[in-house]
């Protein structure tokens, strides 16, 4: 029996929409489940108190500090390197063997699993360079991990800057560097920021790599060479070892709320400025 093309289209459309609905449903379910179980246990004191009894009681202050330090440092180091790479690729060279090699490096780095970054960070930063399991080892490992994202988004943002802008800038007598900093970077800034914000999200979520490099110390890090546990790892340990489910849910809520906020910022940046640039 031959099914009419219109009937088969109708069937397919129903299936496709069902797939979309399931996906959105799963997303909403995850967010709702974590927040419903976590928000009742979340309070200001949870964020500002130190954990007691391995996290059974008390708050997550050292983990908040640890997460901010590791993530902040990683992005602070990766952003200039990533943007400089993007500037080099778009403004300072022609497509050729060298750009192919640089892009290949970034593309491959983007595909390396986080556990491999963790192994590498452990043996290179922590042991070979003698930094130990520390905030700085974790941050440098995450730097490598988010670098490809920043390179790619910056490159895309720079490519959307119209050519006429550059011509006008040259026409006014600026050097290439003046053109890049005053014109190109300024108009590509929202796109670059989007990449940076997404990288912050990725660093906050990361667990496997920081577990092997920043360690899991519960106390507040006093220097960059102290070990520090991040929120994501704290959540993993609390829930997996069954230390405290209420505190696990509250920690997960902090993570989910941060990710939601960062995604909102990225979305806002992209849409607020996309109209102007494209």
């Amino acid at each position: 029996m031959r099914v009419s093309p219109f009937l088969s289209q109708r069937i397919v459309v129903v299936i496709l929409w069902a797939l979309a609905a399931i996906t959105v449903g799963v997303l909403l379910y995850i967010i709702a489940y974590i927040l419903i179980h976590g928000l009742p246990h979340l309070s200001l004191s949870f964020l500002t108190l130190s954990p007691e009894y391995m996290g059974r009681r008390g708050g997550v202050f050292p983990m908040v500090v640890g997460t901010l330090l590791v993530t902040g440092l990683a992005v602070l180091i990766a952003a200039p390197i990533g943007v400089a790479t993007a500037i080099y690729l778009t403004e300072y060279t022609r497509e050729g063997k060298m750009t192919a090699v640089i892009r290949f490096g970034a593309d491959c780095l983007a595909g390396v699993p986080s556990i491999i970054f963790g192994l590498f960070g452990f043996v290179f930063f922590a042991i070979t360079l003698g930094m130990g399991m520390s905030v700085i080892s974790g941050a440098l490992t995450l730097t490598l991990m988010v670098l490809p994202t920043i390179i790619r988004t910056s490159e895309e943002a720079i490519r959307t800057v119209p050519h006429s802008y550059r011509e006008v800038s040259y026409g006014l007598g600026s050097t290439r560097w003046q053109m890049v900093t005053n014109v190109v970077l300024r108009s590509a800034l929202p796109g670059i920021c989007t990449g940076v914000v997404l990288s912050i999200g990725r660093s906050i979520s990361e667990t496997a790599a920081v577990m092997l490099t920043a360690g899991s110390a519960l106390r507040l890090p006093h220097s960059l060479f102290d070990s520090s546990r991040t929120l994501a790892l704290h959540f993993y340990i609390l829930s997996r070892e069954g230390i405290s489910m209420p505190n696990a849910y509250a920690t997960a809520s902090v993570l989910i709320i941060s990710i939601l906020a960062l995604n909102l910022v990225a979305y806002w940046l992209m849409h607020r400025f996309a109209v102007k640039v494209r």
Binding site: Q9, L16, P113, L255, L260
Partner: protein, 286 residues
Amino acid sequence: MKQDKVISTILFLVALSAISGLALITVFIFKEGVPIIARVGGRQFFLSSDWDPGLGHFGIFSMIIGSVAVTAGAMVIGIVFGLGLAIVLTQFAPRTIAGMLKPAIELLAGIPSVVFGFMGVVTLVPLIRTYLGGPGLSVLASSMVLGIMVLPTITSISIDALQAVPRTYWEGSVALGATRWQTTHMVLLKAARSGIVAAAILGMGRAVGETMAVIMVAGNTLEIPRSLLDPTRTLTSNIALEMAYASGDHRQALFATGVTLFVIIMLLNTVALAVSRRRSGRGGVR
């Protein structure tokens, strides 16, 4: 101009950091992991399932099978959902709904893997245990969790591939009287094939490399799984589970597990890059 030359050189040196990072990673992972493979013997290491670090037995065959099984399952879910969503978004969704679906998929990509794993443990695992049997912590649970996790990768790259098909193909097909769906599966999916294949391969890389979520839902036993409901251990979880207390040969064997994983991922990446380069000629995977 002298200043321009200096800046250009500095930028070039900085631009080498990604490829240097990749080189450093390769060198250090191999330096730590390869000697133990040589000592144990490749055959023993890759083809034996006897993993008992206390006795100095290092065989990762069951974990290779675990990774393959979990990834295969994840790909079924990831491709059906990922490609389905890409088709909905590019062909069937009105602009307003597409405008809401896209950020939702991006958000899904941002959710921490530990949270995915945890949700698997509290929702999927009990369901599987009650209705399908077995311990619940299983290949099936891991595949489902991973499938959802790789969906955003597959969707976003497939969307790029579908949008890269020239508009005229679509117009030609519709002008010949084909329905939207006929146009999609007879024209667009064929024209975008290499991009979609690249999307699937990159998604596969994600699934093979995912660690924390799998640890939480796979059960981590050392036997080769006989069915979808059996627990299993993957290459990634082996490393993450045992690194904390490993030393000496044991630690090297974990690095060797990493080498295996790294080689698999690099092969997948290279194939994906080659496939998508052939399509676009330049620029690589976006």
